[in-house]
């Protein structure tokens, strides 16, 4: 804990709320302790009695979209079992926002407005120095496709010949280390297999409408054009449950309330952004533990 980091954190939270208030987003709070976390192959939920702590508020927020809310956001704690490192902590703060009648391009426009505005509010400019490196969040941003980057840096096409093991290993060891650190990087159009809750591209069903934001070499946010096809979503959950069972990992029940609501959800775009990492960048903290009020 450091006082200046916590002051920065408080400023970031205020600036984020101001940004969404100005754009007529409604702040919501959905349950933290839930019976059915989203099934993802590599995200493990913490048990809490006979329920789980949420790994993301995504499924509950989508139920609100199905209920007719059009612009919503939430900031709050999420929990992921076993994730601890320089930029990981098992309990962390996530910001998610969703827009109905929109897709991942609309969310990208929001994000391109959000970072410079937030940066101005917190550090008084659109650039700052992080661990000795100058980062400018103003335009132009770097945009690159997952396919192009893998072809160039790893020598294979993850869209045409998807290989899950190789994908994660090359992403961490070959792609992330060479991403430019001077401006935000948008890595877009992921293989369909690594986007459990995203819509597939109408032009190419091997590609999911998903992008990731990297800032200062850190993965900061993940955005989707949301999948609203309940049949397809149930199928993906079931495949994932089977993979988790085969790998000897906990299998969570399907969120039937979410699946029942999904047919009423309009086409939407959504995003999850790691608030702690944002605070790290803006306060110059080297480790995520430095921006937490208390470490447990």
């Amino acid at each position: 804990m450091r006082r200046d980091h916590l002051i920065c954190r408080s400023r970031v939270l205020q600036a984020l709320r101001r940004f969404f208030l100005q754009r007529d987003f409604i702040e919501v709070e959905t349950p933290v302790r839930i019976p059915a976390p989203a099934l993802e192959l590599h995200i493990d939920a913490e048990l809490s009695g006979d329920a789980y702590l949420r790994t993301s508020p995504e499924l509950h927020m989508k139920r609100l979209l199905a209920g007719g809310m059009e612009r919503i956001y939430q900031m709050g704690p999420c929990f992921r079992r076993g994730e601890r490192g320089r930029i990981h902590h098992p309990e962390y703060t996530m910001l998610e926002w969703y827009r109905a009648h929109a897709d991942y391009e609309d969310i990208l426009r929001d994000t391109r407005a959000l970072l410079p505005e937030l940066c101005m509010a917190v550090v008084g400019d659109t650039h700052f120095t992080y661990l000795g490196r100058r980062i400018d969040v103003g335009e132009p941003w770097h945009e690159m496709s997952v396919r192009d980057l893998f072809m160039r840096e790893a020598g294979w096409d993850p869209i045409a010949d998807f290989d899950a093991d190789r994908f994660d290993l090359d992403l961490v060891n070959k792609i992330e280390p060479i991403l430019p650190g001077d401006r935000p990087v948008i890595l877009r159009d992921y293989p369909a297999k690594v986007a459990a809750l995203a819509r597939l591209s109408p032009a190419d069903h091997a590609v999911a409408e998903r992008w990731e934001l990297y800032l200062g070499g850190m993965e900061l946010a993940n955005a989707y054009s949301e999948l609203v096809d309940a049949v397809e979503q149930r199928h993906r959950f079931e495949v994932c449950a089977e993979q988790r069972r085969a790998a000897g990992r906990a299998v969570y029940p399907l969120d039937e309330a979410f699946l029942a609501a999904l047919p009423c959800m309009p086409p939407s775009g959504g995003i999850a952004l790691g608030v702690d990492r944002l605070v790290m960048l803006l306060s110059g903290a080297e480790s995520i533990e430095d921006v937490l009020a208390c470490c447990v």
Binding site: E40, E83, D168, L171, V172, N173, E176, V194, E212, A247
Partner: protein
């Protein structure tokens, strides 16, 4: 067996029949992807190093390593004789001891590391005190600590010392690095 989530700095694992110690460790996990555990590893037998990435499902063998406190007795034609608390003798070769053999003194307490029952290394007290047996005289009045010159200490170990150290001086050596630490007494 260890699993990837046990990995941390200082953990000892076995790879292809050799014990390795994790000297650097980095946890990586793309939000939607699997955890990647990047390690720098040092072979505990040869000292050679390598980098290796583990994935969450990977398992590592636990090396059959153990440590025993022993007391050094004497050297007999290249064999270094140690004793345990029951006065049982154990002989270590110069090859296993490496430079550490030059720091040994009678009755020194050490920890000997065994791999599959065979001694593979030794940990000495962090600091040993030695007398300078030979070094060229330094320029008079030069008390700089960043200029070094070679010296030979009792036992035959060669170490770089600051220019102001003279023959007959007593110094402390850090056995972890083998480097000069400080002067204890002047001749």
């Amino acid at each position: 067996m260890y699993s990837a989530s046990d990995l941390r700095k200082g953990l000892r694992i076995e790879i292809d029949g050799s014990p390795y110690i994790v000297t650097e460790f980095r946890f990586n996990k793309p939000g939607k992807g699997q955890a990647i555990y990047n390690c720098k590893l040092k072979n505990m037998l040869t000292g050679s190093t390598m980098s290796k990435s583990y994935r969450s499902n990977d398992k590592m063998d636990k090396p059959a390593l153990s440590e025993r406190p022993l007391v050094y007795s004497y050297e007999d034609s290249g064999q270094y004789v140690f004793m345990d608390e029951n006065y049982e003798q154990l002989e270590l070769t110069a090859e296993v001891l490496g430079d550490m053999r030059l720091f040994l003194e009678e009755d020194m307490k050490v920890d000997v590391l065994f791999y599959n029952g065979a001694p593979v290394g030794v940990t000495l007290p962090t600091f040993v005190v030695k007398v300078i047996e030979f070094t060229e005289p330094g320029a008079r009045g030069n008390t700089a600590t960043n200029v070094l010159k070679p010296a030979t200490v009792t036992g035959g170990y060669e170490v770089n010392v600051p220019i102001f150290i003279n023959q007959g001086d007593t110094i402390r050596i850090d056995t972890r690095t083998g480097e000069y630490s400080e002067r204890v007494a002047t001749a």
